[in-house]
C-alpha cells in the first residue's frame, strides 16, 4: 500500500466522521425543537401545586414577571387580558399563567388579586426560590435580583419580558416579544385552535 493510498483513506475517514457528526447534530437539533416541553412545579395563592401537565389540552400563555413592576408587566398582562376577551368562546381553550420571579414579596403582597385585576382567567403562580429558578431555566428565561436604592425595598428584578405560547401537549410553540399587539397573539392562537 502506497503512502498516497493511506493518505487518501485517512481523508476519506475524516470526511465520513465529519458527516456523521453533522448528521447527528442535525437530528439532535430537530429532536429538541420537536419535543421541547418546558415545565415547572409552582403554587397558586391557595398553596395548590401546578405543573404544565395540569394544563394539558389547553394552550398556555406563560409570562414571567413580578408585581412591583409598574411598566413592562402591566403592559403585557393587559395584552393577555385583551387576548382573552377577544377570543370569546374560544377563551376556555387558553390558560394564561403569570409566574412570579419575585415569589416571596409577591406572595406577601397578594399575587392572586394582582393578576385577577387584569383578568379573572389569569393564574398567578409563585414557588420557592429553587422552584422559581428551575421554572425559569426550563423556559430558558433569564431573571436576576439586583440591588437598587431607587427601587421599592432596595431591590429590583431584571427579567425576560417575552410571552410564551405552549401547545395542548405541553410543547413549546413560540415566543411573542414584548409589545406584540394583542390582535397578533389572538390571530396566532385562533389559527392553531
Amino acid at each position: 500500500m502506497s503512502l498516497r493510498t493511506i493518505r487518501l483513506a485517512l481523508w476519506g475517514l475524516v470526511i465520513v466522521a465529519a458527516g456523521a457528526i453533522a448528521a447527528q447534530q442535525w437530528v439532535g437539533r430537530e429532536k429538541t425543537t420537536e419535543t421541547f416541553r418546558p415545565d415547572f412545579a409552582l403554587q397558586d395563592g391557595n398553596g395548590q401545586t401546578y405543573t404544565m401537565a395540569d394544563f394539558r389540552g389547553k394552550f398556555s400563555l406563560v409570562f414571567f414577571g413580578f408585581t412591583n413592576c409598574p411598566d413592562v408587566c402591566p403592559t403585557t398582562m393587559s395584552e393577555v387580558a385583551q387576548v382573552m376577551d377577544d377570543l370569546g368562546e374560544k377563551a376556555d381553550r387558553v390558560q394564561p399563567l403569570f409566574i412570579s420571579i419575585d415569589p416571596e414579596r409577591d406572595r406577601r403582597q397578594g399575587l392572586t388579586e394582582y393578576v385577577a385585576a387584569f383578568h379573572p382567567a389569569i393564574l398567578g403562580l409563585a414557588g420557592n426560590d429553587a422552584a422559581t429558578k428551575d421554572a425559569a431555566d426550563s423556559f430558558k428565561v433569564h431573571f436576576a435580583r439586583e440591588k437598587d436604592s431607587s427601587a421599592p425595598n432596595g431591590y429590583t428584578m431584571s427579567h425576560s419580558p417575552g410571552l410564551f405560547l405552549i401547545g395542548p401537549d405541553g410543547e413549546w410553540l413560540r415566543q411573542f416579544t414584548y409589545e406584540t399587539p394583542a390582535a397578533e397573539i389572538r390571530a396566532e392562537i385562533e389559527e392553531r385552535i
Partner: protein, 160 residues
Amino acid sequence: MTMKGFALALGCAMLLPAIASADCVGVTAGDLTISKAWSRVTIGTQRPAVFYVEIRNAGKTDDRLIGIETPIAGMPMLHQTVIQDGVAAMPHAEAVDVPAGKTISLEPGGYHGMLMELTTALSEGQTFPITLTFEKAGAVEIDTLVLPMRAQEAQCDGAS
C-alpha cells in the same frame, strides 16, 4: 329646589367635565406644554404606582425634566425601561431630555415616573397632583388622572 341648591347643582355640573378630562388639559411653563398625565389603579399602597405624561417644547432651547414630586408618594423617581439582549430592567433616570421643538413622552416601555411609598391607594377616576421640575422652566404642577389597571395610554377622545 331652592335657588341656593340650584346654584350648587349647576356649580357641580360645570366642575365635572373639568375633572373627567384633567389628564388631557395641558399646563404650560414658558415654552413647555405638559399634558396627558395619567396613572393606573393600584391595589393598596405596597406596590409602586406609575406616572406617564407628554411634554412639548415649542421653544428654541433644550430643557430637561430633572425630578417629580407628589403628595401621594414618599419616594417618586424617574425610571427608564430598558430592554437589552432580551432582558428588561428599569434603572433610575437622572433626567429626561426635552429637546427644543420636540414632543417627548413618558409612556409604557420607555420612561416612567415610579411612585414608591404610596400614601394612598389610587382608584379609578381619581386625580392627584404631580409637580415636574425642569432644569430651565422650573416647577410645574399637573393633575394626573387614575385610569383602569388595563389602560395603555391617556384617554383623551381626541382632545388635548
